[in-house]
């Protein structure tokens, strides 16, 4: 028997089924409604003038906070979309940045350079990103495992080069391309309208979550999960793994492009760093931190990652950190150092991500409570 040495497609731990979670407490009945509660909180949030010192700089409904929250929500959606590949199908793509960038730069160029109305530009960008994902996926999926990761990485690198070299003067090169807002709907322009961008981001997140859940609950989703666990078994069933993987890849690419459309509106332009491989690595970190293949893990991971990425800068320059000796304060002022370290620790100690923490904590609470009931 020849040894199979190739690192097979990853098989992230499956979610702990709800019925196994021993949480017979008061809140147990509310669990199914938690996402709904979160949604209501998210909907009410822009009407609140609450100050949370240390958590956000301004009041909750201040434009700065709302913009940060909007970015977080978009990345929650992007991470959920990426999880369709990594956590739910077991495909390790290092090139997801490309499809996001297609949405960002596509919209930006079509609006700013071609002067198209936003809805046309956005539609074309999403369509283009989806077609791009289908075409490149059709090629890349002829390989599996690490080779697939490398091919997707290389394809995305072409995108990064195209953007950075500014072919045809379209992308603005290293400088990036500010979005020309003159032709945009008034409601999406200006600091006072940040709240509308927040709604847009929230809508995007809801749509992605809805799509991902629908897909993973469908027969196709079960095939995808089967591919993740054991590709050969799916082949034995007479199903063509390639076609199912291509569907997942295309869909994830389309969702990422849509996220790009929303993102370019929120930040008001495109910059070349979103095309880099680091950007895809960040998505991977979000998904793994949150819990690959779980219902809410990637969403929470994406939101938390972007929040920390922004807030750690403030944390790093805060008085508490400044007061530390330089060998501590310098690294701590680098968000990526903190996130990278947390990520490594998560891989070691919480392989299921944040999503695995809740059942564990519940288990712990449960086991602590039983003895106390005994007289």
């Amino acid at each position: 028997m020849t040894e199979v040495k190739s690192p097979e497609a990853p098989a992230p731990p499956a979610a702990v089924p709800d019925e196994l979670t021993p949480g017979r407490g008061r809140w147990h009945g509310l669990r199914p409604y938690l996402p709904l509660v979160a949604l209501v909180v998210a909907l009410v949030l822009p009407y609140s003038t609450l100050h949370l010192p240390g958590v956000f700089e301004g009041a909750l409904n201040s434009p700065g906070t709302l913009q940060l929250l909007a970015v977080c929500l978009v990345f929650g959606g992007l991470a959920a979309g990426y999880d369709l590949l990594f956590g739910r199908t077991g495909m390790l793509s290092f090139g997801h940045a490309l499809y996001f960038a297609a949405g960002v730069y596509g919209t930006d160029i079509l609006v700013t350079k071609a002067g198209l109305p936003l809805w046309q530009a956005g539609l074309l960008a999403v369509t283009g990103g989806t077609i791009l994902a289908a075409l490149l996926g059709a090629v890349a999926l002829r390989t599996v495992g690490i080779a697939f990761a490398m091919v997707t990485l290389a394809f995305a690198q072409v995108g990064a080069i195209l953007v950075a070299r500014d072919f045809g003067g379209l992308t603005g090169g290293e400088e990036g391309l500010p979005l020309d807002v003159s032709g945009l709907p008034q409601g999406l322009v200006g600091v006072t309208n940040t709240v509308n961008l927040y709604w847009l981001a929230l809508a995007y997140l809801v749509v992605v979550v809805f799509v991902v859940h629908r897909v993973s609950g469908s027969p196709t989703g079960r095939v995808l999960a089967g591919l993740r666990d054991d590709e050969r078994r799916i082949g034995v069933l007479g199903l063509d793994p390639y076609r199912f993987k291509l569907v997942a890849f295309t869909l994830a690419g389309g969702l990422a492009a849509a996220g790009g459309v929303v993102y370019v509106l929120i930040v008001g332009g495109a910059s070349p760093h979103i095309t880099s491989s680091e950007w895809t690595l960040a998505l991977l970190v979000m998904v793994v931190l949150g819990g690959p293949g779980t219902r809410w893990g990637p969403v929470i991971g994406g939101i938390l990652y972007m929040y920390l990425d922004h807030r750690l800068v403030a944390f790093g320059t805060s008085d508490a950190v400044e007061a530390l000796p330089a060998f501590l304060s310098n690294p701590l002022s680098q968000p990526l150092f903190v996130l990278g370290t947390v990520f490594i620790l998560a891989v070691y100690f919480f392989p299921g991500g944040l999503a695995s923490l809740a059942p564990r904590l519940a288990l712990l609470r449960h086991s602590l409570r039983i003895p106390s009931r005994r007289p």
Binding site: M1, T2, E3, D229, D230
Partner: protein, 254 residues
């Protein structure tokens, strides 16, 4: 006689599949014990579990002892250095290395490699020292796979299907070599070729569906056509003498 190897209640689960479900048997301190069974019944899994090569996703339970020593949970290279020689299925010689390099790799620290012994058994290996192992014939590769293990002193050899895919003439050669090897070291052999089994084996352990279905005298098993056919799915030799007992009925079995 105290067995050289005793396997008790060995269970192996790989990716949710119970490949072995509580296998128990012993290997005598001399001669060849043969492990039989239909394809996919877990023979190779058994050998690999003994030598600690269950894939990382697998889960092994039970006890395996060589002499007084417990084997499970010890790393493979330690077991091999402790005198457990392993000749894998499909030979697994290093195709890109020369024959001499394949042999040199198998030298174990702290013992003098017995090249003269190996070259006496396989003069071919001496002559072809500079040839790439990948360009050897199947039979020669098998000789190399056995020869490299014999460079060192072993307390027990695990040999997995050494005659698989070989020409009849080469099968005889391999069997001859194993016969001579077994004079000095006990062998646990997985083998499908019943002619080879008849020639070499003294004891037999038959696996079926992840469990031991039969243990006893190998020669007697081969005489029992109906039994051989039901256990192995192959017709056997002539003769109708009753032999052996189903594992469940044996008193000396745990």
């Amino acid at each position: 006689m105290e067995p050289i190897l005793s396997v008790e209640n060995l269970s192996v689960r790989i990716a949710g599949l119970h490949i072995l479900q509580g296998v128990s048997f012993t290997v005598a301190p001399t001669g060849v014990t043969v492990l039989l069974g239909r394809n996919g019944v877990g023979k190779t899994t058994t050998l690999r579990a003994i030598v600690g090569l269950t894939p990382p996703a697998g889960e092994v339970r039970g006890t395996v002892r060589m002499g007084a020593q417990s084997l499970l949970a010890r790393p493979t290279h330690r077991l091999v250095r402790g005198g457990l020689g392993y000749v894998p299925e499909d030979r697994c010689v290093f195709a890109g290395l020369t024959v001499a390099e394949n042999l040199r790799l198998a030298e174990r620290r702290g013992s003098t490699p017995a090249y003269d012994k190996v070259f006496a058994l396989f003069p071919e290996l001496d002559r072809r020292g500079r040839q790439r192992a990948g360009s050897l014939s199947g039979g020669q590769q098998q000789m190399l796979a056995i020869g490299r293990v014999l460079l060192n002193d072993n307390r027990l050899l695990l040999v997995d299907e050494p005659t698989k895919g070989l020409a009849p003439k080469v099968v005889t050669e391999v069997a001859e070599v194993l016969e001579r090897v077994a004079e000095s070291v006990p062998v646990l052999l997985v083998e499908q070729n019943l002619a080879v089994v008849r020639r070499l084996a003294r004891d037999a352990v038959v696996l079926a569906a992840g469990r031991v279905a039969w243990t006893g005298d190998a020669q007697e098993l081969l005489l029992e056509t109906a039994l051989t056919k039901s256990l192995l799915g192959v017709g056997s030799a002539e003769g109708h003498h009753p032999a052996g007992t189903p594992a469940g009925a044996r008193k000396d079995q745990h």
